[in-house]
Amino acid sequence: MMMDAIIIENAFQEKIDRDLCIEPKDQMPEKYRLHLIRQMSQHAHSEVIGMQPEGNWITRAPSLRSKQILLAKIQDEGGHGLYLYSATETLGISREEMIEQLHSGKAKYANIFNYPSLNWADIGAIGWLVDGAAIVNQVSLQRTSYGPYARAMVRICKEESFHQRQGYEIMANMMKGSTEQKEMAQDAMNRWWWPALMMFGPHDSDSPNSGNAFIWKIKRQSNDVLRQRFIDKTVQQAELIGLTVPDKDLKWNEEKQCYDHGAIDWEEFNRVINGNGPCNKQRMDHHIKYHNEGAWVREAAAAYQKQINEFN
């Protein structure tokens, strides 16, 4: 039995080392499967919970076009959620189980969505900074070792780059607008910048889940490398439209050809991750409330389907 496990693991690792994709029917170590379920379900939940802060502004979107774009964007996020749930189901877990794990707190979602969307520019900031950070991460995941996850990322990245552009467009328009609009934009920037940097996770020196993830090529690039890439492209975009990055220690490092940034407040990061962010409770309460309110609809649909199946 133990010998079998070793043989399977060796064959698996050999595949990984040759940069071949692992597919749902391939044998894989249990730890690899569980690692992916944790990461992919978290990713799916993040897409779905992320609909809340943006959904908060749908009925107040200030023009027909902006409402259309926002609604289409949130729909994309929901679609990504669906797609990722399906990809995760190939690992032998149902969507229902994943949602239970979300509600029990066993499964997480991106910490960033525990922050509130307070003014219209937040919709710009979420698209530009939050989706912008997500893209950097997801582009890297296009080469992740699990086939269904990698393919989901290819598709998702295409839509995310549209989201980032629409977010930046909102920010750029507001920075061209009235004094109040500029204030809203800068206020949103001030509140979303640091949480966006935290999206890449702890520094490499302090990243608890990275070891096997690199060996199994689930993760291809480190948190700090991805974070730096995000900072370098985003700072210039901010300057271009006149936004100030809220980091007094931010400066260009000529020698390293990248920006040095100030210290990230990991205490805040840990506090929010552990449940004490501004919106943790609301986000989860909202999801549970509407999931429970919809139970009778799902039951009716299932009962009807059963009748149809019996009839045929």
Binding site: L82, S178, A295, A303
Partner: protein
């Protein structure tokens, strides 16, 4: 009333129905009973925003005062909106939204089928696009009526309750204003009254197949078409117009 004035008001009516219906549907975002339905309902909302935009843009052109579609959508006072009251009724539960959509989509299916042949080319063009969307909206709500009506006793009750509660808001769809009389005589609009028996037949077929009783209540609420709304309307506008009203000089 000139034909231009009649057309302006008619376009506002069609546009406002789409605008307010999209508002209510968009409230489902992140609140659907299942993710697929969250997407389906907001997708329908998106179709309606697109239609509202086309209709209000045309209305603004006919008005000829240099206003934009956004100006018409966001800057009018409550009594200047002409949507049917049914569109402004609250989101309610899933059965309520489905029944509302069935009632509205059935009417729109009949109306926009006719408007595809409007002598006004712009209206015919908008109708041509709308009718494709309406068919999907109608099928979606019909299929959910089947599921809810025949699914469980509880879901059947919910559906029946929604039908009973919304029934008195269905008659207004078939009213004819002076401007519609004028435009239908010209082959631009269509006689709404002529759609009523077909509407009743289509709706009854779906509801009966869903084990739902057709209400016998005959009193019908009215007012939206004259700009007299339910109390819901002011709250919709307070929220929808918030940024446009608070920062009137800003462009977004």
């Amino acid at each position: 009333m000139t034909q231009q004035e009649a057309l302006y008001k008619y376009l506002l009516r069609l546009g406002d129905n789409a605008l307010i219906q999209s508002y209510r549907l968009s409230e489902w975002c992140s609140r659907g009973p299942i993710l697929e339905e969250d997407l389906a309902l907001t997708n329908i909302a998106l179709d309606y925003i697109g239609r509202a935009q086309n209709l209000l843009q045309y209305a603004a052109a006919i008005e000829g005062k240099g206003h934009s579609a956004d100006h018409l959508a966001y800057r009018r006072a409550e009594h200047q909106y002409y949507n049917n009251l049914i569109t402004e009724m609250p989101r309610g539960d899933f059965a309520y939204t489905i029944v509302k959509q069935l009632f509205i989509s059935t009417f729109e299916f009949l109306l926009y089928t006719e408007l595809c042949h409007s002598k006004d080319e712009a209206i015919a063009g908008i109708a041509g696009k709308a009718i494709k969307e309406v068919r999907y909206h109608w099928t979606h709500s019909r299929d959910w009526c089947y599921r809810l009506g025949k699914g469980t006793a509880f879901s059947n009750d919910k559906l029946q309750q929604a039908v009973n509660d919304l029934w008195m808001y269905t008659g207004e769809q078939f009213e004819m204003g002076a401007e519609e009389e004028m435009l239908s005589a010209e082959g631009i609009a269509f006689d709404n009254k002529a759609l009523q028996s077909k509407w009743l037949e289509m709706v009854s077929t779906v509801l009966t197949a869903s084990n739902i009783q057709i209400p016998t209540e005959s009193y019908m609420q009215t007012g939206g078409r004259k700009g007299v709304h339910t109390e819901n309307m002011g709250h919709i506008l307070a929220e929808m117009q918030y940024l446009q009203r608070a920062y009137p000089d800003a462009t977004w």
